[in-house]
Amino acid sequence: MLTLQCPYCGVQADETELSPGYEAHLKRFGPGSTPEEFESYMFARKNPKGVHFERWRHAYGCGKWFLAARDTNTLEVFGTYPAQSSAPPADLIAKIKQKRPDWEGYK
C-alpha cells in the first residue's frame, strides 16, 4: 500500500486517507491566455514512466494539500514537501539523482 508522510502533521498516511491530485507545479493560465496556454494548463500532462511530482491531499487527516515525488513505475516514494513550493526542493532533487542516475532531472 502506498504510504506518504504528510509534511504538515507528520503522519505516515496510507493511501486510504489521502486524495490524489495529479501533476504538481502546473503553470496556471486564466482569462486572456491563448488556447495553447490554456490547454497546456488544463489538459496536457507529463505522465512520465518514472520520477513524477504530484499533488496529494491529506483528506482524512489534517486536510492539507502537499506535494510528493514518486516513481510511477515502482511506486517508490522519494519524499514529500509543502504545497507552498514553486519547484521541488534542491535536496530532494539531489536524493532522486542519487537513486536514479539516469533521470534527466526536473523540467
Binding site: M1, L2, E15, T16, S19, P20, Y22, E23, P35, E36, F38, E39, S40, M42, F43, A44, R45, K46, N47, P48, K49, H52, E54, R70, T72, N73, T74, L75
Partner: protein, 415 residues
Amino acid sequence: MRRYSVFAIAREALRYHSGWERAWASPTPKASYDAIIIGAGGHGLATAYYLGKNHGITNVAVIEKGWLGGGNTGRNTTIIRSNYLQDPSAAIYEKARSLYETMSQDLNYNVMFSPRGVIMLAQTHHEVRGYLRTAHANALQGVETQFINAAKVKELVPIINIDGPRYPVLGGLWQPRGGTARHDAVAWGYARACSDMGMDIIQQCEVKGVRSEGGKVVGVETTKGYIGTKKLGIVVAGHSGQVADMAGFRLPVEAVALQALVSEPIKPCMDVVVMANTVHGYMSQSDKGEMVIGGGTDGFNNYTQRGSFHHIEETLRALVETFPMISRLKMLRQWGGIVDMTGDRSPLISKTPLGNCFINCGWGTGGFKAIPGSGWAMAELMAKGEPGPLAAAFSLDRFKEGRFIDESVAAGVAH
C-alpha cells in the same frame, strides 16, 4: 490460410491433428513498410486489418513490445455495450458492437461473442433520471436500449438483491444486444487475418525512437533495428505518453491502474452483464463459470499493472451488497492493466503535430468494446490522412478548442 470449419476438424481428426497451421507468421522486419502500427493489441491489430480489408493497404507491420494481446486486450472484463449519451460516442461504440456481431464469420475465428444483454443499474433517483435521458438519446441515435423497472431487473437477474440496505435497485438501463466476447480470441482472430493478408506481426520488438524528416515521420528505431515507414499509427494505450514523447508531442492523458478479478468457477447463475455504477462494481459470468469482476481505477499515475488492495475491497463490498449469494465465493485471480485516461474520458483518434503520424488512444477503462469500431475509424484516418465521420469528433484539437465529448458525467464511472 486453411479455413477453420467443421470439415477441417473432421479432416484433422482422421490424421492425428497433424495438419493445423500456425495461426500467424513471426517474420523478421523488412527495411520499410507503407504503414507501421505500434502496438499489437486489439485496437492496433483491428487498425491493420481494416487498412487491408477496407483500403487495400497490406504492406503493413504491427510491432509489439511484449506479446500479442498481452496488454489491456487480455486484461479487461470483456463487456461490450454502446449505450453512451453523446452522439460521437454512441456512433463509434455502436459501430463496434455491430461489427462484433459478425466478427467470427468475418475473421473465420470464433471470438465467442455472446449478446447476452447488459444492465446498468439505477440505484439513486439521479441515476434514474440520467438513464432515462440516455435511453431517449439512444433512441435518437438508433441504439437499442430501454429503461426497465426493478421487477424486470429481478426477472432478468434472479440472484440480485433489489432491496439493498444502502442503494435499493430502482430500475436499470437495459441493452439487450450488448454482451461479452472472448478477449484473447479477438486479438488472435485479427492477427491471423492480418498475417493472411501478408502483413508482418513482429512481437518482442520495442520501439525506442521515432525518426522524422521535415516534420514528417520516416521510420522507427526499434530493438530489432531501424524500420522505415510512410505512415505511423501509435496504438499503445497505457504507454501512449512515452511513444508520443518520442514523436515529440504531449497528450492530454494520464496513465492509471485499473483492476479486475475472477472468482472460482460456479454453476451458471447469471446470464446477463450487470453494472452497478453507484456502488461501483460490475460482474458477469464467463463460460467457464467464473464470476468476472471489475471496479474502479486507482487515482494516481501508475505503470505497475497492479492496483491498490483497498479498491478490490470496495468493489467486492459493493458486489456482495448487490449479489448476497457471492459472499462466500473465493477469488482466484486479480490483475491490473494500465489505462490511458483523457481529460474528458473520451478517446483520441487523431492526426498529431508530426506529419503522417496518427494516434489512437485514451480509451481509458472501456477500450475492449470499441476494438472493431476503433480499428475501422483509425484505418480510415491512416489511409486517407483525414478522419472519416466516426473519428472526426475524437481529434486532439478538441482540448484546445473546448469541444469535449463529456462522457465522464454521462457514463458515470464504469466504462
